[in-house]
Symmetry: C2
Subunit: 200 residues, 2 copies
């Protein structure tokens, strides 16, 4: 059984949303599974001096256009939420809480959160907004609200982000296939080729 | 006759080198020609606060790896020159000087300069290094040395860079197809699709 692909992303990363719409199907075509690993780019940008793309003069305007164009190309809806960039801590905690119970449901939740943010353009920065998405996915509201405050889940997220930084994760989306790192939605073509050829 | 594609690049941009190795052939497949437009990213980064990619922690290491991997994929040699990033003013002036005489020869010279820098890893930052490449391309050494000091050529380059900024050019490589802007070597796939479908 080949190793799963590691898929790192921030819930506030619109290019992560585009990659999330394709990655499972792409992996499946090559008999691979995907480990979804949401992270907090804010913590990572403190290491790299990175800045949120859409705030950069000229480049930000381009990125808005490129995002909408790329979403049209792969046939998914695209909208930016009103608060953007936003804190994705609550969304990350919800994901890892779900992951501890059921990996498949955790991925379904990640997709629902992404759809809410960048498919419908709704805010998912507050615990309450995240809880609403969880409830719509059939999860228990009280349980999720408790999980978002749980010190164990908070620590688990910190550990995940530190492990990602230690592995060299510096952006979103970032995909690791058999130790090979690919960064950016626009490198998915090379990810597909790497899976097909086993390297070059 | 459809409009030419505009291809903006900095001679010190290694991703520009990769794009330069593909762009003419890609355009030709769709009955298009390419207007090569070298620019100075340094001047543009003053507007956008951009930084040379390879100096950024984590991201820089990734880019070195990604560059070598992408070069292998398209089958071109890749090496970084000792001085990097470097000033590409002399290379740009040589290009526009040649363009005033013969567009085809100017493109051949641009390819030779890029090959010298990122194919062979040789410095092309000084006027003398640029003159050597020009002479190897069969051009007249005295004429090119005079051109690199010529106030008219200097002004022409300043005008070109200002026009590029006014058009929204903020990075290298940057390609404009029928008013549609694509940034990055990793968007060449979308450029090819856009040419094929005329948009989406």
């Amino acid at each position: 059984m080949p190793e799963p692909i590691d898929f790192y992303f921030d819930f506030s990363s619109p290019y992560g949303y585009l990659a999330a719409a394709c990655i499972d199907e792409m992996a499946e075509r090559h008999g691979r599974s995907v480990r979804w690993r949401p992270i907090l780019l804010g913590a990572i940008f403190q290491e790299t001096g990175g800045r949120p793309l859409l705030g950069i003069p000229m480049k930000g305007d381009y990125a808005r256009h490129d995002l909408a164009r790329s979403a049209r190309l792969i046939g998914v809806p695209f909208a930016l939420p009103e608060s953007f960039p936003f804190m994705s801590v609550a969304a990350c905690r919800a994901y890892y809480w779900m992951l501890n119970q059921d990996a498949g449901q955790a991925v379904a939740l990640a997709k629902a959160l992404y759809r809410e943010a960048f498919g419908k353009g709704q805010d998912i920065d507050s615990p309450e907004a995240v809880a609403r998405v969880c409830i719509a996915e059939g999860l228990d509201g009280d349980a999720i609200r408790a999980a978002l405050r749980d010190p164990g889940i908070k620590q688990q997220l910190r550990t995940e982000v530190a492990a990602a930084i230690a592995k060299g994760v510096f952006g979103s989306p970032l995909i690791i296939v058999d130790g090979e790192v690919f960064w950016g939605h626009d490198r998915l073509d090379q990810v597909a080729l790497w899976l097909e050829r086993g390297g070059w």
